[in-house]
Structure formats: C-alpha cells, structure tokens
C-alpha cells in the first residue's frame, strides 16, 4: 500500500530498530483483506483491486479502503468505504461505464452491490437480503469456477446472479443498469420441484442468454439444461431452448450473439436418453436460433463419422484411439469460423492406487484408476460448422486420480475439472484483432535436464497458430514464476526470487510468431 510506504520510508530512514517504530507502523497500517482481478467475458483484464480494512468505527462498522489498479498495474484510485465489520468483497467487474463491487455480509445476511462511475464516484448501493444457506450455496457454486456471479453487459449494466432458497434451491438474476435504463429481477419459480441454477453466458443491448440447470435432488446425477433468453430492457422471458435428457440432451459450452442478432450455441450433443454428465457424447454441435427462438441452423459433427477420420496421428505416427476430449471453450472468430479448445484424456490404471489397494487388503480409500491427460487439441469449424481441421499441440502427460472408480471418465473429468486437474488455464479473446490465446500449464520432461513446469500459450492469429512458452522456474529453481491472466495478449508474471526473498510483478506480451 502506497500509504504504508510513506510510513515505511520514515522508518527505513532510521532503521527498523525499536519497538516504538513497530508500534507506529502497527497503528497506521491498512490490513489487507483480499484482492482480485477485474476480468471481462473475454478474460481480458481491465484492472486489479485490493481490499483493506483501515479502521474500527462505532456500531460495528469499519472503514475499508478499495484500491484499484489499472491493467498496467498503476494505481488509479484508493476509495474509502464504510460498512459493517462482516463485509467481504467478493468480486468486481467493469462494463466501460462503471465499476461494480459485490459485497457479502454473512452475519447481517445481505449482498450489497456498489457501483462507481468513470469519475470514481460511488453512485449506487443495492442491498439484497439473503439467508445463510443461500450464501453457502453461492460460495459452493463460485468454487466450481464456471459460475458467473457478476456479469458485465458492455455499456449497459451488470447482471448479478445469486442463489435463492425457495421450496427447493432456486436462483435470482438482478439487472443493475448503468445507462439510465430500468432495473429488473428474473427469479426462478418459488414452487419449483427441481433444484434450479442459472448462469448468464451472453448479453447484448437486446437480450440476456443464460443457461438454466435443473436436477431433482442434490445427489441426483442427472442434470437437464435449457437456454433461457430474457429481454434486457424489461427482464421479461422471451423463449427457451430445451435440451432435456429424454429428447435432445446437449451440453452447452458457449454461446454467442452474432452481429445480425442471432444466437449461436455451441457444445456437445448426446444420444436421446443419455446423461450428459456420464455418457460419452455423440459429437459436437452448433445451433443458431433467432431472437424469437426459431431455429435457423443446427449442425452436428459426429465423432465417428467426421472427427475420427481426420484426427491426427500421434507423434510416433500411430493413430491411437481418440480416447476422450474435454472441451474447455469454443470460440468464434470475426470471420465466422469456430475453434473448440480441449485436452485429450483417457482412463488408465493407477500404479500407485493399485499398490495402495494391495497393501491395505483392498480397504484403502484410493482409486485404482486415474485420468491421464495428454495433448491439447483445437478443432476448427467453418461458419457452417463443418469440421475443417484438427490441430494437436504436444503437451506432457499429467495424471489425476479418479474421484471414483465406478463413474464414467466423463463424469470424473467434469468433477476433476472443478479441482483444476486439467492443464488448461484460460482462453483470452481479442475480438478487435480477431485473435485468441489458449493457455495451459505443462510439465515438460526434458532430456538431460531437470523436468520443468512451463506456461504454454496456443495462439490463433490471422488464420494461423503459433505457440509461446514461459518456463516457471529459472536458475536451478532460485527464481520461480506464477503466470496469471493480464491485459489482452499479455500475462502477468509473479516472479519470486527464493534467495533474495523478493517478489516482482511484471506484464509480458505473449509472442505471436
């Protein structure tokens, strides 16, 4: 904290020698609570925030400091914020018009949404009552990593997505306008007999597209998804696309609103009656609907008929079984082509798990199977969703013990994804330059040298792919790096020097060849 630096400067000038200086430091410092990144839907970093507790005030209040840095790590603002002592800053987003912070208060049981305008003035303060159970569920959902708690709608407003404790668990979607429009709420029915969750995945100046999941009970392994389209001006339901298990089960990975105002949904399709969490998909699909719900096109690409024949051989020339591919993201370029980014994996026996099982006489709680995650794969489709090419990018094997030996590899993959078992980190879209960057962490087994972790980026630019790599340690491990998302085309490196015990943060551009 800059202010602390002022104090430290004084103290450093005279040396940190006595208790008096330490006491002064103690009574004048901000206590860090937490920090986070301001990311938009393309994973472009708009800035960073730090939340500090400054002072104890009367009636259980605290003065907090919200420090905001731009995407170049420069200080932009440090704002004072007074609220109850149990306030926690959960997330922040920017929509080009305003900056929103979502706060929760576990004791007083409410969410609070605070917005700042472009002049950094606090303009709005929305309080939403909530139960402890609802908060617990919201936390659990957030930890899956695939839950959009705050969703920015560029130059319009923000969507706040939360859990509601109805007859069964449901959801609430609150729209907070920043352009002078009307606010609204879209909530799941109070009397629903299923557990309902919602995840907004796309929004423009006309509609909000959200994925609604429903299951009978918490332990149920069957989940049905449907896409819900809501009018952004009024919050009124427009139409839905149902992909239930019985009829046409599909797993939506991504959705886009095209410039000609159609909705494109991308993902994997399954055979009627299949469970999308357990069964192996039949292939990939792209369905386009207009904003009244009429299907314009529905393209399906079967694994067996279309994908397997053009799947590249492995490096040894052998065309092995496809195994499984876990798709992390499907992106659409400005040219209208699509790229599905995934990782190959297969279920294998775990030597360690088998040994542990044998030693314990079969009583060990260890899995005897594991998922072996291998190369990254990028599938290219044309604007009509015809498969054009599959590119495989070499990556070292990594293994994750199955959570259960009895579930399908897909079920394990979905569950393990939550625990970060895959090497995939994130995909960043640069819509202006029509590029994307898919990031992975790879464990490289090097001949004649110590094996190393490496950050790898697969980059698409102007129709071609290139790769860039940053080793995560240098100088025999004296220097270690952590790679985090940065502004478009950049990563933020956290460089730790073990010997000197120093930490440095710097932004580095990824190198497109």
């Amino acid at each position: 904290m800059k202010k602390t630096i002022t104090l430290l400067l004084i103290l450093a000038l005279v040396g940190f020698a006595n208790a008096q200086e330490k006491t002064i430091n103690e009574i004048s410092s901000f206590k860090p609570r937490n920090s986070g990144t301001l990311m938009d839907k393309n994973n472009d970093v708009d800035g960073y925030y730090f939340f500090y507790e400054v002072d104890k005030l009367k009636k259980g209040d605290r003065e907090f400091a919200i420090r905001i840095l731009d995407n170049n790590l420069n200080d932009l603002a440090t704002k004072s914020y007074v609220d109850n002592k149990n306030t926690v800053l959960v997330q922040s987003k920017f929509n080009n018009q305003a900056l929103i912070f979502a706060m929760t208060n576990y004791k007083e049981k409410f969410y609070k949404l605070i917005t700042f305008d472009r002049q950094a003035n606090q303009v709005e303060n929305i309080k939403i009552p909530v139960s402890k159970k609802e908060m617990r569920w919201l936390n659990a959902m957030k930890q899956t990593g695939n839950f959009n708690f705050l969703f920015p709608v560029d130059n319009k407003g923000f969507l706040f997505n939360y859990i509601r404790d109805n007859n069964k668990l449901g959801y609430g979607l609150k729209y907070v306008p920043t352009d002078g429009g009307a606010s609204w709420d879209y909530n799941s029915p109070d009397d629903s007999k299923s557990i309902l969750t919602l995840n907004p995945i796309e929004a423009n100046d006309e509609v909000v597209v959200a994925l609604e999941g429903s299951k009978k009970s918490l332990l149920s392994q069957t989940i049905n998804y449907k896409v819900i389209v809501i009018d952004i001006k009024t919050g009124k339901f427009l139409f839905e696309k149902n992909f239930d298990r019985k009829g046409d089960p599909r797993l939506i990975t991504n959705a886009f609103l095209t410039p000609d105002k159609n909705l494109v949904m991308l993902g994997e399709y399954f055979a009627a009656g299949d469970n999308i969490m357990k069964d192996k998909s039949e292939g990939l699909f792209a369905e386009t609907v207009d904003l009244t719900g009429n299907v314009i096109s529905d393209s399906k690409i079967s694994w067996v008929d279309k994908i397997d024949p053009i799947m590249p051989a492995n490096i040894d020339g052998k065309k092995k079984k496809r195994g499984y591919i876990y798709f992390h993201d499907i992106v659409r370029t400005q040219k209208g082509t699509y790229y599905a980014i995934g990782e190959r994996y297969r279920k294998t026996a775990s030597a360690g798990g088998i040994a542990a099982m044998a030693l314990s006489g079969g009583r060990a709680g260890t899995s005897v199977t594991q998922l072996t995650i291998t190369n990254a794969a990028v599938f290219e489709f044309d604007s009509k969703f015809e498969l054009k090419d599959i590119k495989v990018f070499e990556k070292g094997k990594s293994r994750a013990p199955s959570l259960t030996d009895f579930g399908s590899p897909q079920l394990n993959a979905h569950a393990l994804k939550t625990f970060g078992a895959f090497d995939y980190e994130f995909t960043q879209m640069d819509t202006k330059r029509d590029r994307f960057y898919a990031a992975f962490i790879d464990y490289e087994r090097l001949k004649g040298a110590k094996d190393k972790f490496a950050f790898k980026a697969i980059m698409y630019n102007d129709g071609t792919f290139s790769e860039d790599k940053i080793y995560l340690e240098e100088d025999k491990g004296k220097i270690e790096y952590r790679v985090m998302p940065g502004k478009l085309g950049n990563v933020m490196l956290l460089e730790y020097n073990r010997k000197e015990k120093t930490v440095q943060l710097h932004l580095e551009k990824l190198n497109i060849q």
């Binding site: 104890k56 603002a77 440090t78 472009r118 950094a120 950049n490 440095q504 710097h506 932004l507």
Partner: protein, 460 residues
C-alpha cells in the same frame, strides 16, 4: 541505513529510476569483472569504505547513539554491494579532472579536512549529488551533463561539502530518532493505542505530522548547505554567479526531467516499413480522471523534500548579494573532458541495466543536440532495438521497461514506454531491419551496428 543528503528535489521519477536500478543492477553484476563499473583498486576502496564507516560510527554520541550506530552499521557492506552491482562508474579521465576541481576548492578552504573524501560517480541520468556524512559523496552522471561550466560543478560540490561540515546526515538521523522516541510522540502513540475507534486514522495523522516535520528539517538543511556552500565556493577562483546558474540548471517544471520531443513517428518511420499510429495508441482506463484519486492521501505526500529552486536562488542572491557577471570568465577546462566520458556513459548504463525506454530517449536527445556522432547514434540505436527484441522474446521486457501510466508527468518517456510495449515481436524485428537498412550507408565501421544488422538479417 545510510542517509545521503541529496542536492535536488527528485520525488517520483528519482524513486522510479532507483527502483528500476535496484531491479536491474544485478543483471550486469556478474558480467562486470574488469570494466569501468569495478575500480582497479577495488580492494583498497573496500578498506577505505569500511574504515570511514567505522570511524563515523565511533564518533556517534548521545542519547540514541547505540540505535543510530545500528542504523549505520552495515552501510559499508551496502556500498560494496552497490559497487559490485554496477551502481557506480570509475574512469581515470573523470577522476583526474574532478580532482582538479576539488583541488581548487580544497586549496581555497584549507580548514576542510578532505583526506577521507571520496567522490563516487553514480550511474544515474538525474542531475543530482549526495553526501553520506562520513567523507563519501556521490555525483550522478546527469549532473555533469546538466552543468555547463567547471564553476557550476564546483558550487554543487561545495554545497555537498557544506552538508558534511554541518553534519546534516547524522543530525537528520538523530532528529528522527529523537522525534520518534520523544515523550510527546510516546504519549501520542499511547493515546492512539487506547483509542477504540479510528485508531489507524489517528496513527496516520501522527505519521503525517512526523513526516512533515522531517521534511521541514530537510528543507532547512538544504538552505543551510546553500549558504555555507556559497561561503566555501566564494573563496575559490570560480565565478561566483555560477552558484545561481548551477541551481537554475537543476530547476525543472513540475518535476519533469525528460521533456525533449523525441518524435518517435519520425525516428522509426521508414520507407520500407512506415510508422503505424496504433503503436502509440493509448488504452482505455477504468476511470476517466486526470490524476490518481486517493482518499487517504496525507498532507506530507504532496510536500517536497527540498525547497523550490527559485526560493533557494532568491535567498542566496539576497544573502550574499550575488551579481550577474561575464559568462565568458567561466571555465570548462575540466568539465568538457569529463563530458566526453559521461555523455556516452549515461546512455551505456541504461543499456547495460536494460532501462531501454531511457536509452531510446537519451539517444534521440543527445544525437539531436549534436552530442553524438551519427556512427555512434545509429550503432547504439540498432543495438537497443536488438536488446528490445531479445527482452521481448524472453518475456523480460516488462521487467526492464515500465508500462505506460496515464497519470505520468513524464509524457515523452510514457510515449516511449507505450511504443515499446505496444510493439509485437514481429514488428520489432521489422523495425530493426528497416532501421539498419535505412542507415547502413552512413556507417563505416561500427561493431554494434554490424552485429545488430546481421542479427535482424538472420531473423528476417
């Protein structure tokens, strides 16, 4: 902790460069085994540093002497580390010419005990000098570049010697210990600690108060050093009004040091690869404000450590009735030879430490002002472009060159940073090649240029 008393007010930029230097100095440390960064008589110099520090510590007396001694304890090791880290520059031409200026001062002021004096030349382009209080002094390369005559250099040295004579370094540290540990401060701290509410705010106000007092003391010391420095200076053969002109050289508007218009869109515009306006494109910031908003800003954050230069000049003129005199009477006998070394070195150290934004600025500025030959300029610039390419390729450029900052007062430097960071690897490659192609006919025999030209040819 050593407390050198600085000559000028530097604030943000100075700290930026110091921090940058700290980051990058280690980069070259191992490489400089036999060059101007490590003195030939290093062992003797180490002994000198250790002895002066020990003598200085032994002289410390008074109520807080043991604590103050602790603060100075490791200063010798820190300075030796700094030498090893290429912080200083050693060159016989600079030494012999500076010694001649010093001799003039010593001869005129025989009461000054200069036998333990040593003037280190610091790799820093900011015009500044410092006194450590034990006989060690620092003069930045940038001071020689800014000064126009021996007379001006002599006055600044006299000012630094005055700091030593007046024991400002030790007094300053002592005062800070006294202030921090005074009954009054203790009472205030104790009261704040007992406060149930608003403790941090009260603590910060106390810090502010202490810091403002420290800054006032620092300003007072500067004014004292100006006066005594002038007394010492006035006894020399140098022209007296150089005291005024030297201070003027150090004055800068709004703390902006790099205000030369470098015209990047002209320097890097080539027929085969024209300059692209998006290389200087600014990013949209989260907030649309002209300056950083800080609701916790302390009063002391906006106060300078030194009095305004103009008020120092006015005070000196009034106190000593300094009149303007004939500028032709000033001498440059020693400064000119010094500049032949320090001008290229001020660029070289930025390249060695990979502060490549500053390298580009200094190269363009010094070439435009006729301080460099075309051969040297094109050769060094080609080398800088090669270094930028290599740093970007190895994901180190962001470590060496700061990112753009929309609040930066140093607009020119900010433009260079934006330019460097907006460039993609392939664009740096093309600019490097185009630069070498455009200027190869002007080069007769420059190894840097040849090497960079071949490097870019191989890449392209």
């Amino acid at each position: 902790m050593c407390l050198p008393v600085k000559f000028t007010d530097l604030k943000k930029l100075y700290y930026t460069l110091v921090i940058a230097s700290l980051f990058f100095l280690c980069v070259k440390a191992q490489e400089n085994t036999a060059n101007s960064y490590i003195p030939e008589n290093f062992e003797a110099l180490k002994t000198y540093i250790e002895n002066t520090n020990r003598t200085h510590i032994n002289r410390i007396e008074g109520k807080y002497s043991s604590k103050i001694k602790k603060a100075f304890k490791n200063q010798d090791e820190k300075m030796i580390d700094a030498i090893n880290d290429s912080t200083y520059f050693f060159h016989p031409t600079i030494k012999s010419n500076l010694d001649a200026v010093l001799q003039n001062i010593y001869d005129a002021n025989p009461e000054i005990d200069s036998k333990d004096f040593y003037f280190f030349i610091k790799n820093n382009v900011i015009p500044n000098a410092a006194c450590y209080g034990d006989g060690r002094y620092e003069i930045n390369l940038g001071l020689f570049t800014s000064c126009k005559t021996d007379d001006e250099v002599a006055f600044i040295i006299c000012h630094e010697i005055a700091h030593l004579v007046l024991e400002h370094s030790l007094k300053s540290v002592t005062k800070r210990y006294e202030d921090l540990n005074s009954k009054e401060t203790r009472k205030k701290v104790s009261k704040i600690k007992r406060q149930k509410y608003g403790r941090t705010k009260a603590g910060r106000l106390l810090v502010d108060e202490l810091y403002i007092d420290m800054l006032d003391h620092s300003k007072h010391s500067e004014t004292q050093a100006d006066s005594l420095g002038y007394v010492l200076f006035s006894k020399t053969t140098y022209q007296k009004n150089a005291a005024v002109t030297s201070l003027k050289r150090l004055s800068n508007e709004d703390d902006i040091y790099f205000d030369y218009d470098v015209k990047l869109d002209s320097v890097f515009d080539f027929k085969e690869y024209p300059f692209k306006s998006f290389w200087l494109e600014e990013e949209t910031s989260l907030f649309d404000t002209d300056e950083e908003i800080d609701e916790f800003r302390l009063s002391s954050d906006t106060i300078r450590t030194h009095p305004e230069i103009q008020s120092r000049i006015d005070k000196l003129k009034k106190e000593f009735n300094i009149k303007s005199n004939d500028a032709s009477a000033h001498t440059k006998d020693h400064l000119d030879p010094i500049k032949t070394i320090t001008v290229p070195q001020s660029i070289q150290y930025t390249i060695d430490l990979k502060i490549l934004d500053l390298s580009i600025y200094l190269l363009i500025q010094q070439f435009s002002e006729g301080l460099m030959t075309p051969e040297d300029y094109y050769g060094t610039m080609a080398n800088v472009l090669k270094q930028i390419y290599e740093a970007r390729k190895n994901h180190k450029l962001g470590k060496y060159v700061f990112q753009q900052n929309s609040f930066s007062d140093e607009k020119t430097l900010n433009d260079i940073r934006r330019f460097i960071h907006n460039l993609e690897l392939s664009e740096i490659k093309k600019i490097g090649q185009a630069f070498c192609n455009a200027h190869s006919s002007k080069i007769t025999n420059n190894e840097d240029f040849k090497e960079a030209f071949q490097f870019f040819k191989d890449l392209n």
